[in-house]
Amino acid sequence: MKKVLSLSLVSLLGFGVLAGCNGEGSDGGGSDKDTLTIWSFTDELEEPIEVFKERHGVEVELTIIPIEDYPTRLRPVLQSGQGAPDVFTGELAFIKDWVEQDYWEDLSQEPYNADELEGDYIDYVFDMGKDSEGSVKALSWQTTPGGIFYRRSIAEKVLGTDDPEEIGERFSTMDGLFEVGEELKDAGYRLFPDEGAVRWFSQGQNPQPWVNENNELVVTEERLSHFDYAKELRDKDLTAFAPEWSPAWFASMDGKINYNAGWDELEEDAEGEKEVEVFSYALPTWGLHSVLKTNVEETAGDWAVTNGPNPYFWGGTWLGIYSGSDKKELAWDFVKMMTHDEEFLKDWALETGDVLSYLPVTEQIKDEFQDEFLGGQNNYKFFLEEAQKIDANTVTRYDQQIDTLFGNSVGEYVEGVRTKEEAIEEFYNLVRNAYPDIKVPKQ
């Protein structure tokens, strides 16, 4: 026994040393002269990085951290400076908080002089990157208004038209949305993949921040209407039980999915529908290139985008230079390329369909733009118009966590485990518990 054990210990040790070497090998990589390290929460920077590497002849190391963990993981690194990236991105949900910290380099100062760029961007996009004193900390290349992406072939078949204008007309009110949902259901389709899809159209009728300047939780009637709309969707059976970001959600974009595996037992239900197809998805600009295009093969070209009952916006990526970086020049080159390099951005937009916030480029391409994936629709024009309606003052640093808590409460009501009042009460309790400083309305 002793021999075997010591043998296995020795071989393990051998592995360990190898592993250790590996570890040191790439850790050291971060401090190489011409390696730029970038942290982000999506993979959308992968292609731009390839371009950047080619242009500058440098190495770039991209670290992608899932968005739920992103702020928690990044903050200690930025505080301590250990293993910190040279460039990091921020998402809409936490950018408000981050521009006030010293993590991002002040881009208003020399040699960046980002203030001069102000007129080149859609206003809210540029403003979001400024701190409360007006210094620019981060820039973004995109704007993120939302719409509803739908399948042309199904629209043609069920609604008699696939024209975005006409579909948008029918989608322009909540009632209209539900009417279309019923028609689709009768034809064996489902309006949305899940109940969460309507959240933008309930809160969007009267956009308010979750927490106002007096540190009070603001819960409008419109926010609460999400409970009713979600429940209605479920009760009328207009969804396909494919929760956002789940494998089923992605799969449903490309064809039929197994809808309700249990119903083949209930013969008398007679519909016998084992598989079902989803008609539409509420997604913003980036939904096109980073969700639909990357997950769809069969249905490419069969899509179009139109408006919902009201405008909304969702997400957005800003990027800036870490204030403690020792490669600020190279980092600025990357930020420059990503946010105001006409040549690159034009290629990027034409290739991906991403909607830019950089006006010099959008002016050039918006009239001619066509996307094969959307059956030749000019989604650019549509989204740029929608972008004019964005009011970014509703963004707070609590959004990510409070949205999660709110979504869970709605889910509980939809599932029927809590009444609406109980679910709302529970939502208040959870917010109070997570953020004792926020004043929560008393019921």
Partner: protein, 277 residues
Amino acid sequence: MNKKNTILKGIMYAVLILLVIISFIPFYMMIVNATRSNSDILQQGFTLLPGTALIQNYEILIQYMNLWRGFANSLFVAVAVTLLSSYFSALTAFGFAVYKFKGKNFLFILMLVLMMVPGQLGLIGFYDLVRLMGLLDSYIPLIIPPIAAPFIVFFLRQYLMTVMHTSLLEAARIDGAGEIRIFHRIALPIMMPGIATMAIFTFIGSWNNYILPLVILFSPEKYTLPVMMGALRGSQVAENLGSMYLGIAISVVPIMVAFLFLSRYIISSISAGAVKG
């Protein structure tokens, strides 16, 4: 009576085999699903037969998450922890078992009392300490603290007291050996079976540790396997069930294979640990 026993025995074996099947069916589902495509899993449901998408699944998986890296990281941490905690625990146990010094009883009791304290008690302070020391996102906070493992010290001290005679030490001292040499040449080999027992626990414990590396490590290339598994769920891999299953399978199957060879030692260690501890 004998015939009745034979029938009973047959039934019991059937029950045991059923229990084995129940125990292993999750693993079987995992392996089968790891070879199937996402749409196959979503549309066809349960099947006993493997699919053909293994390679595609692997390509998707490895594009986002280098699980082998997580494997190497976990192995490195677990081996380092096991070696250090074994050696230093043996050292400490020897000190407590052989010498009579002032404060010995106090220190020993202090150690025993703190042995009862649940591990999460100091988590917040530990995190803050590590942050202030600038050791976040490194392996040091995972590898160094286990040097102080009170239970192992306690176990090895009891072990030493029962197997080592003081006459052995006396003889070595008369031969002119120093204390450190005595420890390495005489006590350490004597303690080896005890150390091996504890080493297995330490290794498994470190291998499975989740909350500490979760809190301490930030850079994905440093993630240990459990943290990587957690990150898998929020990554793009989660869009594809087949790749998810494959990722889990990769983290599980090598352990199963290792267990095939080591099961006897592991089981006898647990038995020994339970009876003596």
